[in-house]
Each structure stands twice: as C-alpha cells, then as structure tokens.
Amino acid sequence: MIAPSQQKVDALVVGGGIAGLQTALDLADQDYKVLVVEKEASIGGRMIALSKVFPTLDCASCITTPKMSSASRHPNITIMTDTEVLKVTQGTEGKPSRVKVRKNPRFVDLDLCIGCSLCEYACPVERPDPFEWGLGATKAISVPFTNAIPPKAILDPEWCTACGACAMVCPTDAIDYGERAQELDIEAGTVVMATGFDLNPVTVKKEYRASESANILNPLELERLLAPHGPYGRVLRPSDGKIPDNIAFVLCAGSRDKSIGVPYCSRVCCMYSIKQAMLLSGAVPMAEITLYYMDIRAFGKGYEQFYQNAKAMGITFTKGKVARIDPVDNDNLKLRVESLEDGRLLENEHDLVILAQGIVPRADADGLGVVLDHDGFVKCADPVAPTKTEGEGIFTAGCAAGPKDIVDSIVEASAAASEAAQHLIRTGVVPVQATEA
C-alpha cells in the first residue's frame, strides 16, 4: 500500500482508528497528502470491533466501514498497516518532523495477496482469534476479520509451524516466510497522534478475582459476543456455553479508584454499559440485568434520554460500588455490595459479570515527540487550541489525549485536522487549491 519512495508527506497520522481516519480524511479532502500509519494488520481501530454504538444504536460497522473504505480509496491517503512508529523528532522553526517507523513482517506480500482466504482454509493450525479476544478461533494465517482493510491475510509466526500448506495453495505466491522488519524514515510537515487507548485489564482489581473465572468479561469481549458476526453468533457465557439469565455490570471497575492508580473517570463506561445492557435485553430477553454504579454520567447529546429509556426497559440500576466478587458453584459469581438505596449489604449472585474497565493510556505513546501529562495521556499545551501538543507541529486526537467517546473523538479529529492544516500553511505547505482564493 506504500511505495518505498513515498517518504515525504504533508501529514502523518499515527493510528488508523476512527479518530486517525477522520483526521486523515479531513486533511486529504483539503488536498494534503496524508500517510496513515497503523500498528495492526487492518485499519478500523477499536471501533470496528464494536457491536452497536450509543446513543443512536447504529451498528458500529455501518459507521466505521465507510470511513475505512473512503480513507483507503482516497487519492491523497496512503495507509501503512503492520507499522509501528519508533520515534518522532519534531521539526523546529517550520521544518518538517522526522518520523522513524518499522514495518513489521506480515509474511504475506500485500501487493500479491488477493484476499482469497485459500491459505486460511489450508492452514492446519488453529489459534485463539485476537479480534475475538480469544473467545473464538482462527488459523495461524488468516484475514484479520470480515471487513478488514486491507482484506488480506496475515501470518502469526507464534503459531505457524512452517508446514508450507498455505504457500502450496496460494494462487499468487504471496506468502513469504522470510520477510523481515523494515525501517523507514519519513519526513512529515505535521504529525497527528491518534494512538487510541488500552483497556485497564480485568485483573487490575484483586478483590474481583477475575483471573479465577471465565465468566468475568471485559466490555470489549462482550462487544464481540453482541456483534452480529461475533464468535458464537449469540450471547453465551464462556465457561459452559450456557445462555446467561442474570447478568451484572460493575461500573467504575477500572476507573475512579485510587487503589488501582486510575483516579480519573473514563467517560465512556456508563454509556457503553447502558448500551450493552439494552442490547443484552434484546439478545437474551429473559435475563435479569443489573448495573452497579456510583454515578451515571450520561452527559452527552441524547445520552440522558438513552439512560432513561434503559430504566424504562426494566434494567435495574443499583447504586453502590461493588466491594468484592467471589466465584461460587455452577461457575456463578457472588457480588458483595452496599446498596445506597437502603443501606443493606447485598450479596447477589450472577451468572455473567462484565467489569466496565476504564481507559488507560497506551504504553507505547511515549517518546513520540509529545509530552505526557501526569495521567499518562498526551499533554495538551494550549487551552485555545485543545489538540495542540507540546511538540511543534504535532497534534493529537481521540483517546490518545484522554478518555473520550466516539462522537467527541470524531469532532476532535476534525479539530486536529484544522490545526494541522494551519500549521502546514504557516510553514509554507500550501495545497494547490488554496491558491485560488
């Protein structure tokens, strides 16, 4: 997807999730040449793996795939997948930034692969599917997921036995077991960091004993169970494949908790939990669903009404922070919580528990030409230009600069594109059409 010669671009966007793609599209539509660098094998980021999204309940694919598709077809956008950014050296005095990237081996030649999946069928090795958080299986060589872009195979060297079965069936000789990582230096007039977030792991709070039960899920795992093309095709609990009928959501399980080092609010957990509860009540209509919460932060446009709808649907909202979770018989889980409704100490048994884990900064955002704030997210330097970082000509959008929902990330991505375009003009990079004015 990139010619080795294209090592000079107007803008380099780090991260091909929804924020990065929106920034790239807005810059490219202004006739700037944009390179999107994505670490994973496909663009689409976290959003493409979601089921439906609040508050409109559109399917996530319906919003993400068109943006992925537009970016991949845009004449001004080049996408490099499987590529990590190693170092960003900011350009001072109006000079471009220098970005060192490493294209990791995919062991499949993207120019040759036609995405026919014959390799996948021929491969004898099954491995846990990372896209499904290991809830489903895929082959050691496979197309990452149904609507991946590029829709081409990737080989996982951890699992591959080099049996040669895939290479035998590949009609275009695209498989290259000997591919090596390749480093490239890129010169970019501006850089936008849209590196996204990590999920605080479910094991972070020891009192919840998540490592002892398969029936404690993180919210992104539940997204896969709820997704129409998810691993089971319906919602089953992992330990025994039973249809759950008494499900608990534990809010603030990985945020607003000094004891786990995340004192801040992760901003999205209330709303995604309410949404998941609503989707579950559609997928498993007979199930009892309870949300244990501290505050419901339904702050955005249409969010409060969404919350009220969930209450009207019969979802139970219990105010109280869950103190501990213990595995009991039948793979069920017992939640201990003081209800603030009436002060009773509740010990409620549930057969599936979702810990609404918070958003934490990506470990690898460091050293990329930006300064990190005390919360670990990219520091924003200017209150009247919220997407500006401390690095000259380097901007940020989406969860790289703190937890954010999709709506706010997309608006911020456009804002970052606006600031980045201004930086380009200031430093003399003017696209052809701007001279018409």
Partner: protein, 602 residues
C-alpha cells in the same frame, strides 16, 4: 453539462443488479434475505441478485464494481439501511464501476423493514420484497444525470463572536478563506466574558477571550462586525446572501458557507422554583461573576450579609422529571443533561473553600458528572475540603423554603443516607442552571435549520457528520448545537472550520441534479407552476421560441420539491431523478400481487 453517453446505459435493455445487505444481522435476523434474493431474480429486467453481510464494506462494494465492469448490470439497487447512511457510498461504487451514479436506487429494508416489522416474520419479508420491487421499477426508468455545477463564493459567515465563533473564524481564515464575523453585542467574547477561571486549564476566561480576540483582530482575512445582526439570510451552499445590520446601516454579502456559533442562553428558573426570586437565591452564572470580582476573606458575604453556608443545587433546568417542574412554553421539559454544571459547580466549590475557608458548602445532586479530563479532581478536592454531599432522586427534587429567621431551608430525601429526609439550613443557594439554545428563531426559519427535541440545532448524524446540518453549507460551532464546555466548543469550532475549508476548497459547488425540468414542447405557459412554487425565482416564465411563454427553472434555487409537478396540467414539468413515470413504476412494483416470497416451512 451534457451527460456522457455510456453504451451500458441504454434504458431499452435494463440489466438490473439487486444487492441485499444482511447488515450483520440487523436485517437478516428478521428478514429472509436469501429468499428475497431468490424471489427478486424473477422480476423482469433483474439479471442478478446477491446477498452480503455488509454491503457497505469494501468487499461488499466491490461486488457492485465488478458486476458493472463485467457488463453484467447497468442499473443497481441496494436494499439495506436508510439512504441517509449509505446512498452516497453505493453511488460512488456504481461510479467506480464506470456507470453513471444516478442509475442507482436505494431501498431501505432496515429502518423501514427489519427494525420496524421484524417481529412479523414472513409478512415482514414480503413487505421488504415489495419495497425492493418498487426500487427495481424505479431504477428501470432512471436516466443518467450529472451534478449541477455552480460558481461559489469562497467566503464564510460566522454568526456569533463568542469563543466558538472567534475560533471558527480564526481557523477558517488561517486556512485561507475570507471570513465575516458577526456579533450582536458591542464586543467580542460572548458569555465567557462573565466567567472567572475555567476548568480544566484554570486560566482566566477573559484571558482566553483576549488571546483569541487579539488573533482575530490581527488576521487580515477576518472582517469583524460587532453590534451587528444578520437580519436576513437565504440561498444555498456556495451562494448564500446575508443582510447584516449595524445600527441603522445595512450591508449585503455573498457567502459560500455559514457557521452557526450562536451560543446558548442560561436557563432562567420561573419565580419560586427552588425559591428563585428570594434575595439569597442566585444562578450560577451570576454567582460566578460576582465571586470573580469580590475580595477573598474568612466568610463570604452576599447582599451585605455574612454567608456561613452555601447550597449548590445541580440540575436546575436540566434532567427535569415530569410533574416536578414547569415546562417551557413549547410544553416540553428540559430532560437533557447540560453537561457542564456539575464540574462548574464543584470547581467553584473548591474556589469558595479556598478563598472563604469559614463558609461551609452543601452540594445537592442527582449524579456527579465530572466526566472529562481533569474534572474528577475537582470532585475529589471538594470532598477533601469538607464539602457535604446530598443526593436526590430525579422525581423527588429538594424543596427550598425561606426561613423566618432569614436564610433558606433545603429539604432533601438524601439517597446517601438511604432516603432519610434531611433539612439543611443555608444562607445562600446557588442554582446550577443548565443551557438552553439562544434566541435564533429567525435564522432557523430563514435557513430552514433542523432543530432537535432539545431545541438545539441538530447535526446530520453525531458520528458521520457531527458539525453539519441537513442544510448543505451550514455548520455548527459550539453550544448552538447543545451544551458543551469551552474546550469542547473550541473543538467543535475548529471542526466546523475544517468542514468549511473542505466545502469551499474550490470556486464551484456541485449540487444534486434533483431539480425540476421542463419539456418546452408540452408547456402551455399557464403560469400554474410559477404560482405554486415556494422558492422565489426557482421557476419563471421566459419567452421561448415563436414568442410563446415557457416555464424555465433556475437549478440553483429549485429544491426539487415537486409542487410544480402536481399543478402542471400537461405533465410538462417533472423532477429529474424522481419523475412521475418513475413513481408509477415504483407503485406498480410495490403493489405487484404476483410477487410472493415462499412461506417458511413448519
């Protein structure tokens, strides 16, 4: 522009491809998409029908591209979600295949099919079949069309000179486009001028305003008109015309795009709501301004009286439950969250505690929504500083009464002490009032802007097009769209500027060709269409050949509403892409009794 003839596009031999989307399961969980595809194949002219899990994905779109390129189809129908989401996507795929994109019809079998009638089993599938048959009927009669290209004014009007308006103006101008920034008040800065320090940066709001204003004034591409109002505005993308009044003077400007940065109005409680009207009850904006300008001390004073305790009331004019509050003139309650009041109240609680250490604070909330970066710190800090919190349920708001011995009593059923009823005496009550849209009814009316149930301006789609409205060329910046913080308003403003720069990237605008078209030979010059038309100048009578009067359409002004079509006695006028023949064919398809999906066995 003459359409390019394309040998594939001969209407005599329609080869119709029908593509049915499962939408992951949104459609196929309820409708039998495979049966639909099988049945549709029997309709005359349909040469192929296919089902895909996500037609909007790359492989889905490629099906269309490849079939068109292979000459298998020369008309395309996609049956999927609302055209609002993906009509553009599929038209682009049709074009990539080498076909005129207007030889495409979109059928909505999700919002109008599986989501609406999903529980009706075979009947729902049958209903979808008839909708698809209607689409097939229409597509058979479509003609290739081309967009209407009109010259556009590369100039942006920003209405409102608050922080959002200034930021939008600045970003747009720095991107190379001339900007007119119109502000009603005599000075720039809007409501931020009345604020003190703002979260999360803890900068003086007036400093932020000063910085923005300095940049705005220094930018030669920006014309600032303060003390001015847009008194009339009309037109369409690339070609708006705005009349701006400054005192008794008026000017008229040609504009390509409009950014609405008209801001908000704080909720004004009716007399008596939480004892509003009492001298010791004050709204948050008034309190913030007063606090900013008063000297610090041991105890706060208000109206000359020492204030030993302050009550902070959340959700005033927001998250209102039915029966508890007086509705707005339109009969609606403000049921939405105003997003900024929680953090703003707690930020000021922290400031109060530090500046007036002997004044106690009691906070009355439903939920504490300190959601944003750095905001939770204010909550934690307020707790650490001894602010006492009470929590009420939406349907049981606290009751505030004046006490005989002065001050106020707040009675709350406190959820933090398990519903215990507590009476809290306070010397001053601050009402955390929410946001309401600004008074912009005239602009809404003249530009025909969509407004949501919350009365704020309504974006096209919160994720697909979050700062655009359905009226092309009009963009949203800041709180005109809904409650937001300063930081969020600035980002919305920058986003609007980016979109304006994209819309006006060139000195022309391409409009959809769905406008009225006259067949001059059939026109009898009766003037009925001109009389019926709602859009001044869209259709006029002009002298035709042989001195006969003939209706003539201005495609820039015509909205394609079809009112003229309905009154024409001779069928001389039609809307391109939506002709009467096409409607006839749609209805024939939709009512074709012979079309049946086989019933599900067992």
């Amino acid at each position: 522009m003459e359409p390019t003839p394309n040998p594939l596009e001969s209407p005599d031999q329609p080869k119709i491809g029908v593509y049915i989307c499962r939408c992951g399961g949104n459609i196929s969980d309820y409708l039998d998409t495979e049966k639909l595809a099988d049945t549709v194949r029997g309709i005359p002219g349909v040469t192929l029908s296919k089902v895909d899990t996500f037609m909007c994905s790359d492989p889905g779109q490629d099906r269309i591209v490849q079939d068109v390129q292979a000459g298998l189809v020369n008309r395309v129908v996609v049956a999927s979600c609302s055209p609002f989401l993906h009509e553009v996507t599929f038209k682009a795929a049709v074009r990539r295949g080498g076909l005129n994109p207007y030889l495409y019809t979109h059928v909505n079998i999700r919002e109008q099919g599986s989501w609406a009638h999903g529980h009706q089993g075979d009947a729902a599938t049958q209903h979808a079949l008839h909708m698809i048959a209607g689409g097939v009927g229409k597509v058979r009669h479509l003609q290739p069309l081309d967009k209407i290209r009109l010259p556009s004014h590369r100039r942006v009007l920003v209405i409102g000179g608050g922080v959002a308006g200034m930021k939008a103006a600045l970003d747009t101008a720095r991107r190379g486009l001339p900007v007119l920034l119109v502000e009603k008040a005599p000075q720039l800065g809007g409501r931020s001028l009345d604020l003190g320090r703002v979260y999360p940066s803890e900068q003086e709001a007036r400093e932020l305003v000063k910085r923005l204003e300095k940049d705005v004034r220094a930018e030669e591409k920006i014309t600032v008109l303060t003390g001015s109002e847009v008194t009339a505005i009309g037109g369409f993308i690339g070609n708006f015309e705005a009349t701006i009044s400054t005192g008794s003077e008026q000017r008229t400007d040609a504009i390509g795009a409009v950014i609405m940065a008209t801001g908000f109005t704080p909720y004004q409680p009716p007399e008596g709501e939480y004892a509003f009207g009492h001298s010791q009850v004050v709204t948050l904006p008034e309190f913030v301004k007063a606090l900013r300008d008063m000297p610090s001390g041991k105890t706060l004073t208000w109206n000359g009286k020492p204030v030993r305790s302050v009550g902070l009331m959340h959700c005033v004019g927001s998250r209102q439950c039915e029966g508890c509050f007086q509705p707005q003139p339109d009969g609606q309650l403000n049921d939405y969250c105003s997003r900024v009041c929680c953090t703003s109240l707690l930020r000021n609680a922290v400031e109060l505690r530090s500046r007036f250490p002997e004044t106690q604070i009691y906070d009355f909330h439903q939920d504490i929504r300190t959601y944003g970066r750095g905001q939770e710190d204010y909550y934690t800090c307020a707790s650490d500083q001894g602010v006492t919190f009470f929590r009420w349920k939406g349907e049981e708001p606290p009751v505030v009464t004046a006490r005989d011995k002065g001050g106020l009593a707040i009675t709350v059923k406190d959820q933090l002490t398990f519903g215990e009823e507590i009476e809290v005496p306070v010397d001053l009550l601050v009402l955390g009032v929410g946001m309401m849209p600004g008074p912009i009814a005239d602009l809404v009316d003249q530009l025909k802007l969509p407004v949501g149930a919350d009365r704020f301006l309504q974006e096209v789609h919160p994720k697909l097009r979050p700062v655009e409205v359905a009226v092309a060329g009009v963009l949203l910046a800041g709180t005109a769209q809904g409650p937001m913080s300063i930081e969020e308003s600035l980002e919305g403003a920058s986003a609007a500027a980016a979109k304006a720069s994209i819309l006006l990237a060139h000195d022309y605008t391409d409009l959809e060709p769905f406008v009225a078209l006259v067949t001059p030979d059939l026109c009898v010059g009766c003037n009925a269409c001109v009389e019926e038309c709602q859009y001044a100048g869209a259709v006029t009578m002009e002298a035709g050949p042989e001195g006969k009067s003939v209706a003539t359409v201005n495609p820039g002004l015509c909205k394609g509403c079809g009112a003229c079509v309905a009154v024409c006695p001779t069928r001389a006028i039609d809307v391109q892409g939506w002709t009467l023949d096409q409607f006839d064919a749609m209805i024939d398809g939709m009512t074709d009794e012979a079309l049946r999906v086989p019933a599900t066995q067992g």
